[in-house]
Amino acid sequence: MAPDIGFGSLLITLIVSIYGVGAAFYGEQKKKKVWILSAKRAMSLVFPLLTISVGSLAYLLLTNHFEIVYVSQVSSLSMPDYLKITALWGGQAGSLLFWSWLLAGFVSAVTLRKWNRDQDLLPWVIVVCLATLAFFVLLNTFFENPFISYWQTPEGITTAFSQPPGGIQLFPRDGGGLNPLLRHPGMIIHPPMQYLGFVAFIIPFAYAMASLITRRADDRWIQLSRRWTLWAWLFLSLGLVLGARWAYDVLGWGGYWGWDPVEISALMPWLSGTAFLHTVLIQEKRGMFKQLTMVLIILTYNLVIFGTFLTRSGLLSSVHAFSKSAIGPIFLGFIALNLIISLWLLNKRWITLKSRQVLTSFFSKEALIILSVVLLLGILVTSFWGVMFPKISELVTGQKVTVGPPFYERVAAPILGGMLLIMVICPLAVWSYASFKHLGRLLWKPFIVSLIGIALPLYGGLTRWPAVVAFWLVAFVLAVNAFEFIRRTRVRRKNKQDSLWDSIVHVLKRNRRAFSAMIVHIAVVMMAIGIIGIEFFQTETQGTIPVGGELSLGSYTMVYEKLDIFDTNDGRNVARAIVSVNKDGQIIDTLYPRRDFYYDSNQPVTIPGVRSTLVDDFYVILVDWKVVSSEGATFKVYHNPLVKWLWIGAWVFIVGVVAATWPDKKSKPLPVRSQ
């Protein structure tokens, strides 16, 4: 019953989407509003329809219907309910359905706004949104159907949606269960957040295409899609940070980013998305770089599709990738079609987007932003090349090669340093021109303060110059932003004689966008501090010690107190060590590194015990133990300075982006008199 409802709803969504594309197109060509309205209605239906599909699959998972192939693969009796829900996106078919559902959510939400004004854009927004949705639903319907079952036939066991000739349905008693590495709170939030970030970019893309098709060269599409873009970018950024946090918490290698191809395929749209966000600003303020903005949104959208293709096609060997699937070539075809159509369109409208304005100075705001875009794209090209080069090399020479993290790190590090430098100057730069006197006047005080960023590390015994430079740049960015904020508040106070508090509030309100951006950049700088700390200064040690024994790392010592081994009621055997952390002879913390062993999938998962402060993390992994406790246990210990700032920065980041999306108080509309 449930699989029939689920699959039926999927099929109806496909039909409704295709209908919507056709109706919108027809209505636009024949100028018949009634068809366009019908298409709009179709678009509002796709989300409820797919909710039925997703609901059916969730039901099947929660009620342990292991005759459904997907349920068998990702769920098991011993899993708690919340994990069964996360299993919805734990495998290829389910995660694809989940993706389509989220995409449908955004697409349907677009129909909710008042379309009185931009009637000319509407049909094309519908066409782009529903065509994309139709593609993904098609994949689920014909290639990765989450609702197929096991059947026993004379030839053997097969899988199919409906009963094959001579087939009897099979009912396994239990499933294989979710990969234990995924049985973690991170699984609840990281994939959904990541997918939200990916799919949300359809909206600005659809508006951009609609604008191109209707031969408009104005900024209306940007105004309409601005908040969508911000939310998409926020979700995508958070998805990346959550993935990093999860890796740090669970995977036990003391790290947070491995330059894994699947990680990179999520990073690439983020890079072009960030560039897009910034060129949009230039377009709004100076009407320049419209062509570049178009290129960037087309690039971002296609990188999203390309990224999910890389992950799902089995093309990459990665700890993240789904296993090989038939959908690879179809994805490539879809991307090719997308690129051909959007680039052809852009080419046709290229001249109309050209701006009369020119760049006038290297230190104008727009020039600095363009420079940061070049750097972002530099990292993007590097990432793309690092992922694709092995594939190309294999095709050309037949020899398989891989590219390791050092490649990315060597290129990204100086580029990121360059971006920190731009973040120093850009808040102070003005549009259209640059006066070095003006910039100099604004920079010298923060510069003096920033020297703390050199003095402190050197005083602390730091000798590695890239780290010193990085800390200096970080201090500089913070100082520049602080001084700028103080300066504007002072000006306001002097002009209006407000109290300090009123001045602050006024300055914030009037320049809400600028200050939200300031908060976001400060957040990025905090994250940079965390990354610099762990990348440059991580130390580690390992050893086997008896109960009561010690391991030292830097100024810390850990003492192995005890080991407990017990079964839990969710199908795990847990070996948990109790370890106390000492500094300067005093116990400052107790940690519980452990090893869980999952009975149903025969797999262990190592969970570290971590003491995290603003200054550093003390990270302990229980590697192994001998049951006769006097023999002792083996531990691996990492010291990760400053890494907590990476996570704190992420919170500040959210605050900044949400502040940027905050609606302005709408001015009262002027009364219109009809003649």
């Binding site: 068998s72 693969q73 290829q92 096991y150 066991i157 009897i168 099979l170 009912f171 396994p172 008693r173 239990d174 499933g175 294989g176 990969n179 590495l181 060997s317 700890v319 789904f322 296993s323 090989k324 009369r356 020119v358 760049l359 006038t360 290297f362 020039a367 420079l371 070049v374 750097l375 530099g378 090209v381 590097t382 090349w385 690092g386 080069f389 092995p390 020899q399 398989k400 090669v401 891989t402 590219v403 390791g404 050092p406 490649f407 060597r410 290129v411 390992q542 050893g543 086997t544 999938s601 025969n602 797999q603 190592t606 992994i621 590697v623 192994d624 133990w625 001998k626 023999e631 691996k636």
Partner: protein, 175 residues
Amino acid sequence: MEELQPIEAHPRKGNTLKFIIGGVVIVAAIIYLIVSSLSANVQYFLTVEEILSKQLAGELTGRNVRASGAVLGDSIQYDMDTLELSFTIVHVPGDNLLLEEEGGLARALHNAVMDPSRPSLDVIYHGPIPDLLQNEAQAIITGEVLASGVFEADEILLKCPTKYEGSVPDQIETE
């Protein structure tokens, strides 16, 4: 009345040039970074057979390489006190088409482990024993081949065979 010629603003040619030059310089710097880092960090990704033949030909001395193979469960030995791990991997075809012919990666790993005549490679590693290390797992190891023919791994990545979709679950039962 004379026709007034419209005045058009022309972009100052010299101005645009300096931006183009600036842009080219930066792009060139980035390209240089990419190319030089790439050549320093590309590794061969080899099957066990290729490792053995290249080792014989002396092509692997001092090179950091990556290899993959199927883990022989019986060969896994771990000394907790010294954190020394050793195991043996056997050859699995690298070509995707060959893997398809064998019936998928999980099947190919199983065949490799059951086949006594497959070329094998001994691996040693210093560090915590990876969670997923078990019989028939796919191991992707990075490191150097020592003169003794043993592979000294700096890094081990593992993928568990039973997590490949498409394999039929064990507890199938008809009702």
